[in-house]
Amino acid sequence: MATVNLTAHKPTGPVGTIRDGLLIAERNLLNLRRTPGAVVAALVQPLMFVLLLAYVFGGSLGGAEYRSFLMGGIFAQAVTFNASFTAIGLAADMDKGMVDRFRALPMPRGSVILGRTLSDLTMSAVTLTVTSLCGLLIGWRLEGSALDAVVAYGLVLLFAFAMSWIGATIGLMARSVEVAQSAGLIWLFPVTFVSGAFVSVTTMPEPLRTIAEWNPVSATATAARSLFGNQAPPAVVPPDSWPVQHATAYALLCACAIIALFMPLAVARYRRIARG
């Protein structure tokens, strides 16, 4: 009895990483479920942006038409901001010794980060659901096909997953939870606002305009809008540039490129923890 091998079937490689990643994600979600305050706080922020932009700025930008246009941008912004949760979550796990606990276990290196990005992806799905409901209340509608809507949500979630790996890299580089908190958040404002998420990039001065045009947040917002069939009011009509014309393909490309870049960066950073 005492010598029964309890752990004979531990899978390795990508299967092992995903298996352990799902276990960690489950643990993170259990944690989240027991801190309802944090979940509510995370949901209040996009709702606040919806109401602020729709009713403070929206009146001068096209009223009801702008509110409909706005939602694509809100979705892209909301999931981008969720990247800060990844940074804070990983930094907190390091701070509390959980990462050490996991690192002393026979787990594939990437699985702790994968688990965190997967649980934050779930959180993004919740965010999207709640913001969508809020959008419906202020007059936003799905004006395209159901399939397009599914593709739109899928694209936004893929983007959420990609941004989460940037957050993971920041969280693992931060020396403390406080640093992760500010460093994980501060870059999100320029990234989401220097974009076509809420306004037309045509009124921005160069080089902001070019940056905004090619910003993955713009691409994701534009792609979601076009898939949802939401029209832009005259005040915020986007330019007829390549990233706008090919918004869906470009958004997909951006998400994949970000994952391809930051996944290895985050995992390398995780390995480096051992060098202290």
Binding site: A2, T3, L6, T7, A8, H9, K10, P11, D20, L23, R27, L30, N31, R34, T35, K96, G97, M98, D100, R101, F102, R103, A104, L105, P106, M107, I273, A274, R275, G276
Partner: protein
């Protein structure tokens, strides 16, 4: 002061002998040694945490790393559990190199203590289940193992409460249970009883004794000398990232030598006078514990010295309420080795002689002054350090 010019740490702090010393091959061949470390060094910035640590723990034994805060105990544990890379040196755990085969090491170890953690928002059961699953157990095996561990560590009643509300002792038990989840061959316990109440400490000791009965190899770090004394087969005393002594508890005590007389004055105000009388008797300087009001002094002559001390006190009309003669505790050993003012400055006479010598005006130590080098020499000179084999 002894000024023989011997390297202060010399006789006591020796590196492991060249390999093959006892018919044992190099690191990779030590089948019976579950933990081997050779010349581990590690710096953090310009602070050297480890300055060359050598360790060896045969299978099924308890090795205790004993030292104060900042001695390098946790850094050593972190290196041996693959959490930290050493700057230099090498180590194998359960036959696998921690640098080359960290995965293999992780499959065979359990870690509990300062730097391991329980997830406060998960219940005890969820914590253990998660760890069991992460060790690779199936859902069913993990559930069963979790139940067993909860029983064994008396956590069944609290199993479904969030561990964040646990008492310190329950938390440690949960952490320890986590470390034992996969029945590891080697268990690392980093200060497992720090901050525990006496009962929690006794429970933890029992758990360690059970582990050893099962044949597990344990590396235990502690600041508690009593703990090392009680649990360890061999003790390595570390200070400032170096091994300053190693041996069994008894060997360490022998090396410091003698016994201690402890007296409690009938009249608390007489403490000073009693200390003076004792000081006039022997090579060792008496110490007064202000908190307990007791005076204690080391001696190499046991009962004879005690009789003599009592006779001297009686002659001086100083009454004593109680008195004890006891072998040195590891506390005394440790303090002697790390150079705190705990023993006499000069090496005591080896040859038989009068149990007491007038040495009252010998050099005295200021508390906090660093005299480690001298003290270590004494310990070594006194016994020729026979027990201090590497």
């Amino acid at each position: 002061m002894n000024t023989s010019g011997v390297n202060p740490a010399g006789p006591l702090r020796q590196p492991l002998p060249p390999q093959g010393d006892a018919g044992r091959g190099p690191v990779s061949c030590g089948e019976q040694d579950m933990i081997v470390a050779e010349g581990l060094t590690r710096s953090f910035g310009d602070r050297q945490a480890l300055a060359g640590i050598d360790l060896r723990a045969p299978a099924g034994t308890v090795l205790s790393l004993l030292g104060p805060n900042g001695a390098g105990k946790t850094t050593t544990v972190r290196i041996l559990t693959t959490l930290l890379r050493p700057d230099g040196g090498r180590a194998t755990v359960a036959g696998h190199d921690v640098g080359d085969a960290p995965e293999a090491v992780r499959e065979r170890i359990g870690l509990s203590g300062q730097y391991a953690a329980v997830d406060e928002r998960l219940t005890a059961r969820e914590n253990l289940y998660l760890i069991a699953r992460l060790y690779g157990m199936s859902r069913r095996t993990a559930r069963r193992r979790t139940g067993d561990l909860l029983d064994r560590f008396a956590l069944t009643e609290a199993a479904d409460r969030p561990s964040g509300n646990f008492s310190g002792g329950m938390r440690r038990r949960l952490d320890l249970a986590g470390a034992l989840t996969a029945r590891p061959a080697v268990v690392f316990l980093d200060e497992p009883t720090t901050g525990l109440d006496p009962r929690g400490r006794a429970d933890t000791w029992q758990a360690v004794e059970d582990l050893v009965a099962d044949g597990t190899t344990v590396l235990l770090t502690t600041q508690y000398l009593e703990e090392a004394d009680r649990l360890a087969d061999s003790i390595v005393v570390v200070d400032h990232g170096r091994v300053i002594a190693r041996g069994t508890a008894n060997e360490l005590k022998d090396a410091v030598g003698g016994e201690r007389i402890t007296l409690r004055p009938a009249e608390p105000r007489a403490v000073g006078a009693i200390a003076e009388v004792l000081a006039s008797l022997g090579p060792y300087r008496p110490e007064t514990d202000r908190r307990t009001g007791k005076v204690s002094v080391a001696t190499d002559h046991g009962a004879a010295a005690l009789q003599r001390a009592l006779a001297a006190l009686q002659a001086a009309h100083l009454d004593v309420r109680d008195v004890s003669l006891a072998p040195p505790t590891l506390d005394d050993v440790f303090l002697a080795l790390t150079g705190r003012p705990r023993s006499a400055d000069d090496p005591p006479a080896q040859e038989p002689g009068p149990p007491v010598q007038d040495h009252a005006d010998g050099p005295e130590r200021e508390p906090g002054e660093h005299h480690g080098a001298g003290t270590r020499q004494h310990a070594a000179h006194r016994r020729g350090a026979p027990a201090w084999r590497p």
